[in-house]
Symmetry: C2
Subunit: 441 residues, 2 copies
């Protein structure tokens, strides 16, 4: 058994202990973790400086992207952000043991459905070291064990953060073995094979990275690969509102998955809306890729080029937008369901029936009405802390908070009931009355 395999098996056992910790113990440990970050600022910054200096050298040679180096950097403000993040998790309700439903099956025979941790999680992430405190605090509060594998470019930062945090937690009676930091590249292929031990994998990184994980493991993966988001501007849209929302959806942070990539415009509003929209795009440095019909309505400009078929399935993550004209809302919905990535799609219209149709028919995790696609985010949704965004269609969808780390167990409390009394002639009948009763013994 490799080192990592045996550490993860130990963590899985420790997960059973973690699942039974009371809220007070967990919050004390979280407080200790926040304090430890504050006490170890210097150590963290020193370790991060090593990573950043190595990464900058690699970036100079072209082996690393500048944006990756940027994401890698930790400063005092970012450490304060990590501390605040942990404090937010302290404030979240403890989900473990929460009663989800209760049903009276018969006299003195009550069935409870109660929340419990999923168990053993694996988190594989690229350069951002702030994933460590974020996920570690969510896992601790939700009673899940977790194994981390970060990018090698962040290895010093991850190691010092992991050590500082888990040592602080251990002093507050949290089993240290529940948390594992993997450091070698080979460990990834190792953990992808551990479908008997790891209950859920959470990859955080680029499209290609997440896709690679999804394609190479039997473990359920919580995540999203592509983020091809649409805005449909209906003929009953408020034009100024449509301009502002579309511009924000594209330029507020174009590198991320919830930025809009394709704009669909109703034929009947295109003449009024499109020239103004494209002018705004050009002023803000956005390249426009237009279909033939839209092109007729757009002033000629070097920033406006013809769209090809590939553009309708492209995630630019950049200051580029594709534009197509559609006849009506039905064509827009079909287009989105066909070309989208079921992430976030918005309609701009004042017509409530069309809003409802869009909500019913668009098969995406986040369906927005008259608001920027950029709102699709755990922090903005009020989840306190985000595990990730999921385009899965089972378990969790959209921005995922701590609730995505929970499952339930059924607890049946009886006093000797046997099934044979409920079958055959003279069978006792089940009552099946929904109760509003918290689990208690």
């Amino acid at each position: 058994m490799s080192n990592v395999t045996s550490e993860i098996k130990k963590a899985k056992s420790a997960a059973l202990v973690l699942a039974t910790l009371d809220t007070e113990t967990k919050n004390k440990a979280l407080k200790a973790m926040a304090d430890a970050l504050d006490d170890n600022r210097k150590k963290i910054l020193e370790a991060n400086a090593k990573d950043v200096s190595n990464a900058e050298q690699m970036a100079k040679k072209g082996d690393l992207s500048d944006s990756l180096v940027k994401r890698l950097k930790v400063n005092d403000e970012k450490i304060t952000g990590m501390i605040d993040g942990i404090k937010d998790v302290i404030k979240l309700d403890d989900p473990v043991g929460e009663t989800m439903s209760s049903v009276k099956l018969d006299d003195d025979l009550i069935l409870y459905q109660i929340k419990c941790p999923i168990g053993m999680l694996g988190v594989i992430f690229e350069s951002r070291p702030d994933v460590v405190p974020q996920i570690l605090s969510l896992c601790l509060k939700s009673g899940n064990a977790v194994a981390f594998k970060g990018g090698s470019e962040a290895k010093h930062s991850n190691k010092v953060l992991f050590d500082v945090l888990t040592e602080a937690a251990a002093e507050a009676a949290v089993p240290k073995e529940a948390f594992v930091l993997m450091e070698s590249r080979e460990d990834i292929s190792e953990i992808l094979k551990m479908d008997g031990d790891i209950d859920l994998l959470i990859p955080r990184g680029s499209y290609e990275f997440v896709k690679y994980i999804q394609n190479n493991t039997k473990i359920p993966v919580l995540g999203h690969s592509a983020g091809i988001c649409h805005i449909y501007v209906d003929d009953e849209a408020d034009v100024d509102l449509a301009l502002a929302v579309t511009l924000d959806s594209k330029i507020q942070y174009p590198a991320v998955c919830n930025a809009v990539e394709t704009l669909l415009v109703n034929w009947d509003i295109a003449e009024e809306f499109l020239p103004r929209m494209v002018k705004l795009f050009i002023e803000n440095g956005v390249e426009v890729r237009s279909d033939k019909r839209a092109k007729r309505l757009i002033p000629k400009d070097p920033k406006v080029i013809d769209a090809t078929d590939e553009d309708w399935d492209a995630e630019y993550n950049d200051l580029i937008i594709s534009i197509a004209i559609v006849e009506d809302i039905e064509e827009a919905i079909d287009f989105i369901n066909k070309h989208g990535s079921h992430h976030t799609d918005a309609i701009i219209t004042g017509n409530k029936e069309k809003q409802a149709e869009f909500v019913r028919s668009v098969d995406s995790a986040d369906v927005f009405i008259n608001a920027s696609t950029r709102f699709a985010d755990g922090f903005r949704y009020g989840k306190g802390a985000e595990v990730g965004i999921s385009t899965n269609k089972i378990h969790s969808r959209g921005p995922v908070g701590m609730e995505g780390l929970m499952i339930y167990k059924y607890v049946l409390v009886g006093n000797g009931q046997v099934v044979k009394d409920y079958v055959g002639k003279n069978a006792k009948k089940y009552i099946h009355k929904k109760l509003d009763k918290e689990f208690s013994l």
Copy 2:
């Protein structure tokens, strides 16, 4: 593109229509399906008679088990059962569009989480033809498209049931293409590869069968492989209660996954409990496989043999039970978490603290106190109809009803809000107030 691949792609498109049907239309279609079964009893019985006669000939040659032939048989009473099952589904609340949560992010910016169908399901099942009306009615009510692949031994029965039901539904304005029946064996390997199109697979059949499906697809699988259930009889158990519950858990229907396979007995009650328990087992034809310590307390009998290491990880599905002595509840819990299949495990004790410890620490879908393991079942839980039992730890766990066919989407309703107003200096603050508001436009 193969025939099945193109039919499933069509079904996936039809799923988007199915997702938008109103409750009245769906209930009308369900009523028509129930009536059609009643009107076509003769046709169904004739088709089934062909399958049964073929199967009986195969069973004579030893190519099919007798229990499979038994499960295959449909009679008038079973058709009535199918009709009643569909009527139960009519009574279930329509889950589509249900508001799960609502949060005020800011003035005129409300985030709703609403239930929606998962989309395209694949159901692969062995001989029981009653799976067709059961799953078809649940899928229709929950707005999911579904492709079926039944065992070849039931092909005539499945075909006539599928045709009668989907034709009736189509007359009630339900898109017929949403439902697919696959008939050739090669279709299975075809659909296992369709992870871009099928959102969830539900295999129903033997342990080996489910395991095979789980090991050969990237599609999420809702199901359970092994059912290794335990009962722990604590030293503070009521002995008569322990005897009755354990006997029921073993003999009431030993061939199924929720029958008990291993009995753990606290050392301090073993002398009083075990001789009586084993006597009952022997009287009821149960073979007992005992560990060394238990053996000393059990009267010698040809039905009592020594357990081997393999027995602690065995699912007998038969009149066989393994028995081990444990020192205390902690040893019992460790044993269950190590050897169990996280399906259903019970404790027999009057001590509430030990009950609570067992509930907290046993990592199983169903954790029972003083009741038979045989209660772990969708019908007994009051779910109306059962999709299956899941030992997965994401999405659905334990007996799964219609709720297991649902996911949610986030709907954000705004009036032109843009993210840039909520970042940087003078950023607007999110309100994040939980509302108790149904989704409305």
